[in-house]
């Protein structure tokens, strides 16, 4: 479906990452984790075909449902018109979207629960709403691969939850392979099947999320102590949480 094979990318002479290989199938989610500047965005863009690989190769469908990190606050179109742009490639050079394309766009909005945004100007939506609409656009491309660059970075807790819910719903339908990067191990724990830890330019760990997001790996990854605990909450199933041990916060 989508993946990399011994892939490496350079900026100038410096290697951002080397020798990354994985293959993601439909119905699965891969989370990419790593500290700032470790090349998460470069990896995501390489997968989306926006950054050329210096080594190895990329295996991907012709169109990727890509959601960038910088969400354009200056896009002056209706949300629906933004979503329908996902259809651009299929429309050809001189094409304009027709009824079928708008139907697909509306379906995508429906899928992410943003049907109500359709008529609203995109640049008047909040950051979280835009992120959701762009996810709908990624779906509207019809691509079986979704690649999201820190989709939750600008969102408040409620919107983070909403995005994660949408992702797991899309996953549940089983037609998409989803890859996203994040700063929050908790996001990976809650929705992803696999995780890729970018420990260094040539050092990566990839494997089932639950196994790989252990305390040792996370502590190494972020350079501060991280605990993984199970939280028992009354009336709910217990959930696993990741807690970074920040300074302070002593009672």
């Amino acid at each position: 479906m989508i993946g990399l094979e011994k892939a490496g990318a350079q900026r100038g002479r410096r290697w951002i990452f080397t020798d990354i290989s994985f293959m993601l199938e439909a119905g699965r989610i891969l989370a990419v984790l790593g500290p700032n500047g470790r090349g998460k965005t470069t990896l995501i863009k390489a997968l989306a075909g926006l950054v050329p690989l210096s080594a190895g190769r990329r295996i991907a469908p012709s169109v990727i449902g890509y959601v960038s990190q910088s969400i354009g606050a200056d896009i002056p179109y209706r949300a629906l018109d933004v979503v329908v742009m996902g259809r651009a490639r299929g429309l050809g050079l001189f094409g304009a979207p027709g009824a079928a394309d708008y139907r697909a766009a509306l379906e995508a909005l429906e899928l992410v629960g943003a049907r109500d945004f359709a008529e609203r100007p995109f640049d008047r939506l909040s950051g979280g709403e835009r992120q959701i609409v762009l996810l709908a656009r990624a779906l509207a491309t019809g691509s079986p691969a979704l690649v999201l660059d820190e989709p939750a970075s600008a969102l408040d807790l409620a919107n983070q939850n909403r995005l994660l819910t949408v992702l797991s719903e899309v996953k549940r339908q089983g037609r998409h392979a989803i890859l996203f990067s994040t700063h929050l191990p908790q996001h990976a724990l809650s929705v992803s099947d696999d995780a890729l830890l970018m420990l260094g330019p040539s050092e990566h760990s990839i494997g089932p999320t639950r196994a790989i997001l252990n305390e040792i790996n996370l502590t190494r990854l972020y350079g501060l102590p991280v605990r993984r605990v199970t939280l028992e909450d009354e009336g709910r199933a217990p959930i696993e949480i990741v807690v970074p041990l920040f300074a302070g916060a002593t009672p």
């Binding site: 926006l50 179109y77 409620a158 819910t165």
Partner: protein, 352 residues
């Protein structure tokens, strides 16, 4: 799937008038402008006579007008009205499309160096003693040369990004502006110099059916191409990376838009000289009316641009016995209107 919508408080803006009403108003404006342009002029012909002369082309009417009346309407004003409307529409859609592609409302067709290039071509033709079709051909050819130069020079490692393009456009524009100055320096002060100076200021005074026939294919082909690419331009306006991620070959699409703009600009400069500001100001006004979507913006810009140049040209040729240079009026109106539009756009943004 029931997700709470986190409404951020703003409801869709209630607009004073629905979009189609505004589109209709623009169309009516165009019609009024065209009729006004046909009826005013230094040669006095009553408006009803003017319209009757026009109608006599399609239905038999008894002529109560002189041969001169008929010639003025059919040979002077009709082609001039059509040419002004054509160029106004062309320049406005060029501006709208470029502003979309560059995601920058300050971009005008001059930015790609096409106008200065075409201006040089025309000035060269005049100083070599050519007029008419040779002039048009030279203006067109050098407009294309300028664009090609921009294309070649802005291309580094197989790609040309926006900043590089704009800067290269400025450089090439400056180069051709200098060449125009050189021509003016070398021109015969008795004959070609005043002709060059007047031509550079822009005018439709030489409009004929033949000239219309020369300009129309270029302008119409360019405008048709932009119209066909209307949705592509929308996608391009998301920015290079977004557009590429959506599967577009940004480089190629952008150059197709530029080629269409060069076609329009070259043809317009060739027959009317350099008429500035239309491509900058009109798309702004159109955006205020119907928003940024090229599918509405292009036709509304075209109608507004045509109306605008029609009215400006009517003023230019009938306000005084002397022909007022078009570029002077478009700049005198354009600069303050543009400033006002900028402020209004900004205020709208801040309010949003």
């Amino acid at each position: 799937m029931s997700l709470l919508v986190t409404a951020s408080g703003d409801t869709p803006q209630k607009r004073a008038l629905p979009r189609w009403v505004r589109a209709l108003a623009v169309l009516v404006l165009l019609l009024v402008a065209a009729l006004t342009a046909l009826c005013v002029g230094r040669f006095q012909i009553a408006p009803q006579k003017a319209i009757a002369i026009l109608l006599s082309r399609v239905s038999p009417l008894t002529a109560d007008w002189s041969a001169m009346d008929e010639r003025i309407i059919l040979l002077v004003r009709a082609p001039r009205v059509l040419l002004a409307a054509l160029c106004g529409a062309g320049l406005a859609v060029s501006g709208a499309a470029l502003q979309g592609v560059f995601r920058n409302p300050l971009v005008a067709p001059q930015i790609l160096g096409v106008s200065p290039g075409a201006a040089f071509g025309g000035a060269l033709a005049i100083s070599l003693g050519f007029s008419g079709f040779a002039l048009i051909g030279a203006a067109f050819a050098f407009g294309a040369v300028a664009l090609a130069l921009v294309g070649v020079l802005a291309r580094v490692e197989g790609r040309s990004d926006t900043v590089m393009l704009v800067l290269t456009g400025v450089v090439i524009g400056a180069l051709f502006a200098a060449l125009v100055s050189l021509l003016q320096f070398l021109a015969d002060p008795n004959s070609s110099l005043p002709a060059i100076v007047f031509w550079l200021m822009g005018s439709f005074s030489a409009a004929t059916w033949a000239r219309l026939g020369i300009a129309a294919p270029g302008v119409l082909a360019g405008a048709a191409m932009l119209w066909l690419m209307r949705f592509r331009i929308n996608v391009l306006s998301l920015g290079e990376e977004e557009a590429r991620a959506l599967g577009l070959s940004v480089e190629r699409d952008r150059w197709l838009v530029f080629a269409a703009v060069a076609l329009i600009e070259g043809a317009a400069v060739a027959v009317a000289g350099v008429v500035g500001w239309v491509g900058l100001v009109v798309p702004h006004a159109a955006r205020l009316l119907v928003g940024s979507d090229q599918r509405a913006l292009l036709p509304v810009s075209a109608a507004l641009g045509a109306s605008y140049l029609l009215l400006v040209d009517s003023l230019a040729r009938s306000a005084t016995a002397a022909e007022i240079p078009l570029g002077v009026i478009t700049a005198l109106i354009g600069a303050p209107v543009f400033a006002a539009l900028l402020r209004q756009t900004r205020r709208k943004e801040l309010a949003g």
